[in-house]
Subunit: 198 residues, 2 copies
């Protein structure tokens, strides 16, 4: 069906999805067009709306359609407890798995001198501004337990000391080298409650 | 992030894709919004365009944005050889794997008396009209080697006899119970050239 460019376009476009190769993309395209056009239409609308409306929270940098996200603006949450993560997916994972009721700060990745990523590149200047305000009493470091994640956690804990803020690290129930976002919620919850001073 | 309905909508919408559960959908949504907004935008457009413009060829019933598809309207293809398949995906698989240069006819599924699917439901009335025109010299039955696929092939071969048209079945290099669309191209090509009279 080299002769149907709109279908070929769709197959190519589906390959932007993580883990989707040529064969999966074909299977998805045929499934949608043969068996679920309503789903395809809804997906097109949801994608367009998400790309158009979702940006980053100006306070915590997580994904949000509002200037200040629902978590930051929820006054039942404890603004004195700040959990630092690498990605918005980690916010969702922790919020779903633990009973944490503080607020979050999402780094733009992690410190990586080899890639030229310094403190300002991952948003740590913003974090300093927040520490200066004096509201935060504890920083919970929930960066991934990778080499860069550990280095980033260490750097932030030194920063916290300067402003006399307590810094804790989530427990290493999380397997070393693993990505926080894919950990089962039991392990994640355990690691969270077993956090220790750093 | 219960607080971000547009993101939750997108995650739900992604689950219409075959093989995509909650975890994969989340991973896809975050990937698109954090790392590939251009891909997401393109995908939204491609989906909307495909749903809007792709229908079925009025001659062979495969997916097509034109009334008559590129395969049916290609006058370098042999209109005397007609390959019968179950789905548009099978057309793509055969066209990619074999050197077949005839034309196709896509059934709307396969005969399944238990599900109330008779000859007219899968488009065989259309096929009869085509046989009556007297152009077709050979019908190649490439339905899946499943119980219903075999029954459908048998039914069509009887139909072909009535109009004195030769009917062949692709060889059973394809494993029994398998879905044609997922077979490797070598096996499929072999099965195609080893087709036999039925
Ligand atoms: Zn926020
Ligand atoms: Zn056609």
């Amino acid at each position: 069906m080299q002769s149907e460019p709109i279908l070929q376009d769709l197959i190519q476009a589906l390959r932007c999805l993580p883990g989707v190769g040529q064969k999966s993309a074909q299977r998805m395209a045929f499934h949608l067009l043969e068996r679920d056009r309503q789903g395809a239409f809804k997906l097109a609308q949801s994608l367009a709306e998400a790309v158009d409306k979702i940006g980053h929270c100006s306070v915590c940098q997580t994904l949000s359609s509002a200037d200040i996200c629902g978590l930051c603006s929820d006054d039942r949450r404890d603004q004195q407890l700040l959990c630092i993560v690498e990605t918005p997916a980690d916010v969702m994972a922790i919020d779903g798995a633990t009973s944490f009721k503080g607020v979050y700060f999402v780094l733009n990745g992690r410190l990586s001198p080899l890639d030229g990523l310094g403190p300002a590149d991952i948003g740590l200047d913003k974090l300093v501004d927040r520490l200066k305000m004096g509201v935060i009493k504890e920083i919970i470091l929930a960066t991934n337990p990778t080499v860069e994640g550990e280095a980033t956690a260490h750097y932030i804990s030194e920063m916290a000391k300067k402003y006399s803020v307590r810094a804790t690290r989530i427990a290493h129930g999380v397997p070393f080298g693993g990505e926080l976002e894919y950990i089962d919620s039991g392990t994640l919850s355990h690691a969270f409650s077993g956090r220790s001073e750093v």
